[in-house]
Amino acid sequence: MTVDLLIDWLNTIGDFPVLAFILAVVISGIPLFLVMALNAMVAVYVERKVSAFMMDRIGPMGQGPGLHAGKWGLLQTVADAVKLLVKEDTVPESSDKVLFKMAPFIIFIGAFMGLAAVPFSQTLQVVDFNVGVFYIIAVGSIGVIGIVMAGWASNNKWSLYGAMRSAAQIISYEIPAGLSIIIPIMMAGTMNLQELIHFQSGSVWGILPNWIIFNNPFSFIAFFIFFISAIAETNRTPFDIPEAESELVAGWMTEYSGFRWAIFFLSEYANMLIVSGLAVAGFLGGWQSPIPGLFDSGAWGLFWFMGKVASLIFIMMWFRWTFPRLRVDQLMHVCWKVFIPIAMLNIFGVGIWKLIFG
């Protein structure tokens, strides 16, 4: 959307379509990058605080600016970012240097591309694809190439283990995630994210918002399957086996440090944003207000969307600091023997539901 508007506007100024296209992409890409960086910074801070509070600690604290990372440790992430940026750039002697340096960027590109289709509000969306849902799922799997590259290029057994586990995990969990996101598509009859959200306007029985999650029991289950698969796709506990710190040291990131590692981190949190965004758009009514008709216009859209995304990210953090980690075979067991059959049944169920009530 934003890109289209920009191109149209630039075309009115003069007749240089190629330059207009490049300009439009760059102008909308920079805020996207800023969103990514800001998201990572806020999320890291919140993750620190949430984990600390859950563990009866207080997390990063400070008595004021200066050495103590700001009031309530607010400057902690800034300090971390600065530290990571000025760190020495180490590349292991025996690594495959080209792949080693390329891998972070591939992962970053995957996350960045996915972010382009996230509908932040009615108008705030970089590109409004016809096949938005499909696009996000598709570019989401670019990251796994980067992970495998990183693991292979590090020439480290731990990294290799991490990469292999990660590849197996992400590819497996895309299936239940894909099967579950089919349900909103079936119900709304569109893959366009904006139309999907518009479908969810209004209310059922006058109280509950007409979100897909509340539409029928099958979509209710589908949301949880999608959300848990999404956690697995972002490699977070209880599915963090690719970087299980007690087993694989740091998995595929073992050899990375400094800026490259920071990019991994940025991408991980951006991925959390994307999958939560997709879950919100697909099941939780996107930028719609939870009280139908109230605060439902303009900038409120952004507020509701980000609020819903933030609560989903919080739940991810909550999971992470509560649960132990699964083993590889149990992970596969959960995916193939629990989630996929239930997701399949869900599709059937929704089909029949639609036939009867729709």
């Binding site: 984990s51 563990m55 600690r57 506990t237 132990p324 075979d329």
Partner: protein, 372 residues
């Protein structure tokens, strides 16, 4: 686990690894994720404990025993002084016995809390670890209040203890127990009954009873295999025969008898039993002088003694050979973690890398004691 034959890869776990519990190196032969052999290499923390003991006087050995099992230093002290008193035939005052039992059991609770918490950490749960450490910290505070040190106490001396208890110690300790007992159920709800945790530990790394005995595995690991053997009950030392407590054994609640879950669960139950002993000891503790039996000069008669006591990790034995001088001819420590580690290869074959970490964690080793 299925058996797949492929090319073998040698993986070096440690000496610097987050979950080797110290500086232990494991050479693991793997086939993909499946482990076919685990070879432990020891000695990274070898500090010549036994050689030192042949060069210092008997009093000066006590600080060295602290540093062997640094997580349960009171129990290390306890074993040494019990062995020495048996050799010298000293009868200590009753109050000293009670103080020692209280300190030993408190330290058992502290050590088990760390073992359980770190086990949670090994399988990926971070939060229970900090809850348990928070409560362990209160026990360490009590030790600091008693003897000034938090970790390496040098508190028990041959024939007595270095200080009497503070006046209000009994009340402080009772307050702690009142606070602590409800916490155990919280740990259970958060970690023990968690389905993911059960899946990770039940049926994993089964240690049958006969193998355990043959490997000399003792303590909670042996009891996890269903053998009712506790030195406190079966060869009572000090005043343990006065207390009423159970010896929990593994029952295979969620899997097979002797799996990782049983070893974990036995520790959890033992914490409860320790609390029971503590309550009895705090109730009955008599008054008296704690220094009257301390000999001026420790010169044991010629001879040797082997005495084992129940440390949190198992049978902690001291073999002391004396030739009548104030310096030992030979002082050997039979460390329970040493025997527990030797069984690792046997029970982790055929499991995955993640399980090796889980099994190693369930054995609860302390490298300071293995390498001495």
């Amino acid at each position: 686990m299925g058996i797949v034959h492929g090319d073998q890869m040698i993986l070096n776990i440690g000496p610097q690894h987050p979950s080797t519990h110290g500086v232990l190196r494991l050479e693991v032969k793997t086939d993909g994720e499946i482990v076919s052999e685990v070879k432990p290499y020891l000695g990274y923390l070898h500090r010549c404990f036994e050689k030192h003991c042949e060069n210092v006087t008997y009093e000066q050995v006590v600080p060295y025993t602290d540093r062997c099992d640094y997580l349960a230093a009171m129990n290390s002290n306890f074993g040494y002084v019990v062995a020495m008193e048996e050799l010298m035939e000293i009868k200590v005052p009753e109050r000293v016995d009670y103080i020692r039992v209280i300190m030993g059991e408190l330290n058992r609770v502290a050590s088990h809390l760390l073992a359980l918490g770190v086990y949670g950490l090994d399988v990926g749960a971070f939060t229970p670890f900090l809850y348990m450490l928070r409560d362990r910290e209160r026990i360490l505070d009590m030790f600091e209040y008693t003897c000034g040190a938090r970790l390496l106490y040098n508190y028990m001396w041959v024939g007595g203890v270095s200080h009497d208890l503070p006046k209000d110690f009994v009340q402080i300790c009772l307050d702690f127990l009142d606070y602590f007992e409800p916490q155990i159920s919280e740990y259970n709800e958060l970690l023990t009954y968690n389905k993911i945790f059960i899946e990770r530990t039940a049926d994993v790394g089964v240690l049958p009873a006969d193998v355990a005995v043959s490997f000399g595995v003792t303590g909670p690991n042996l009891r996890g295999s269903g053998v009712k053997w506790d030195v406190r009950k079966d060869e009572p030392y000090s005043i343990y025969d006065r207390f009423d407590f159970d010896v929990p054994t593994g029952t295979g609640e969620f899997g097979t008898v002797g799996d990782c879950f049983d070893r974990y669960w036995v520790r959890m139950l033992e914490v409860k039993e320790s609390v029971k002993i503590l309550r009895q000891a705090l109730k009955d503790i008599p008054d008296g002088d704690v220094h009257q039996a301390i000999p001026k000069k420790i010169r044991p008669p010629k001879g040797s003694v082997y005495r084992r006591t129940e440390s949190p990790r198992g049978d902690l034995g001291y073999y002391i050979v004396s030739d009548g001088t104030p310096v030992a001819t030979r002082l050997k420590m039979r460390s329970p973690a040493f025997t527990a580690l030797s069984v690792l290869d046997e029970i982790s074959r055929g499991w995955m890398i993640s399980d090796v970490i889980a099994i190693l964690g369930s054995l609860d080793i302390v490298l300071g004691e293995i390498d001495r």
